[in-house]
Amino acid sequence: MADQTGVAMGAASVKVAEGDRGRGIVGSLSWFAARQPLGFVGAILVLALVVTAIFAPALAPYGPKDAAFAAYVPPGGEFPMGTDHLGRDMLSRIVWGARLSLYVGLTSVLFGVTVGALWGVVTAYFGGAADTVSQRIVDSLMALPPIILALALMAGLGQSVTNVIVALAVLLVPTAARTIRSVALSIKEMPYVEAARGAGATEWRIIFRHVLPNTMATYIVLVTVNIAYAIVVEAALSFLGLGAPPDEPSWGGMLTAGTQALETAPWMIFFPGLAISLTVFGLNLLGDAIRDLTDPQLRGGLG
């Protein structure tokens, strides 16, 4: 059964790919949907997340911190997802949670990967002692298991949404620095870098005009891959009670509140858990599809 659909999809994708080369938006979308059906599902989930996050004030019936209702009202009627232990509307908190998750995920990843990329490019370019020292610093950061490092950072920085972003960014810097460094090492040996140097360009001009722009592809992959990761780690930190402050609508924090009332209000764990899972699932599917489409070696791979 599943086999047949697979074959049918394959045939459809060939047809679409052949007959649709100069396509418009709808055409490209259907091409993508046929080519990467799972990636398309991922794209829809991510789109839903983004729309929810942007239009949170319009979509949520109440504010995320409004505690004006009865506690532990089961889902249904006025509160489709029930209310929590403080009588706040769960639906509103989930909707606002999308905004918080996306905000934290995006800013921390952009911040961390950018710093890491600059660091990697500069040390790769200059090499020598600075590079060796910087590699040892990267080693030291990587010697700490991610969640443990994040916990230690939160202990040092104190609990707030901004500090969660800083902590997540710090987690991402070493990996980004190392990955981008290895790319930059090969770029700096390219003939066009030689040519720029021959033409009398300064070191910094070469770094920013020639080496850095050519690490862009890796940069984009690093960003897409790590957003889901950052969102999960944020939820994990808040789940442990050490991320966003408890009144913030963080899905992880809502899950913790739910564990205090497992028997009376199971909906308090189902909805936030489902929200995190769908988000991660969607981002992973989309990320895989983008990676497969950009890397010809992985097309039709063994998975």
Binding site: S140, L144, P145, P146, I147, I148, M154, A236, G273, N284
Partner: protein
Amino acid sequence: MRKYILHRLLLFVPSLLGASLLIFVLMRLVPGDIAEIIVYQAGSESSTVQQKQVQEIRTELGLDRPVLVQYAAWLGNALRGDFGQSYVQSRPVTEIIRERFPRSLELALLTLVVAVVWAVPLGVISAVRQNTWADYLVRVVSISGLSLPIFFTGVLILWALVRFFHWLPPLEFVAFFDDPVENLKQMVWPTLAQAYYISAPIMRLTRSQMLEVVRHDYVRTARAKGLAERAVVYRHALSNSLLPVITFVGWWGGRLLGGIVIMEIIFSVPGMGTALVQAVSNRDYPTVQAIVFVMALIFLMLNLLVDMVYGWLDPRIRYA
């Protein structure tokens, strides 16, 4: 081989020192130092008395010295197994670690064993019976394991236990050597929840490695000379598929350590993870510092071990 090991060891020491220095400096970034926190949390006295107390505590703890001097002193003591005094529990941090460490170690080992024991065979079955219902089942299980965050699976299992079996988190932890049965009863759920999470990538990797390896010539040769299918799969294909899986187990060590913190919190296991989370929220810096140090040490040793096993299994690496 000796040169390879030496090289790995030379990288090990600076990483550990760097990580510990990093944590040490980080713990001193706190707005208002530790002395102030201790005094102002406890105190109801007038501000001049408090000021004096802050000064006294600073001198007592050596906080008035330069950071690097403090670090050297801390490191010297740490190497002798003395991590100082916990601010919150009035006992040496070393004692806390000695009490908590075996519990977390047990949970980690159980998780790894369970995960490997069920993931590798399932990965093999999934590859050998590619595109059958068994394969689809294994793939669905592993994809769901990858997508559900570990704290959600943990909480779901906890909910099911409470709802359907009226399970209650144990009030008191029983050590394995005191009562193995009771101990395993407490450990089984966190172990299974985490093993499910960790086994997903192991399954996927075993499967894709097997699929790649069975297409090699030597596997065809093994079949051609009339070996039983079982011998081909297990002796020829599997043993060569496991190499990347082993490095992967090492890489997952970091997530395993993070996961243990979460599992211990959900299932109330009083191990290193719970101690760490408590210490962070109580701002008990000596304890945070010591636990993070021990975890970095374990993580680095795990990576070292994996590198060595890898070098031992694959001669190309050690001579490269």
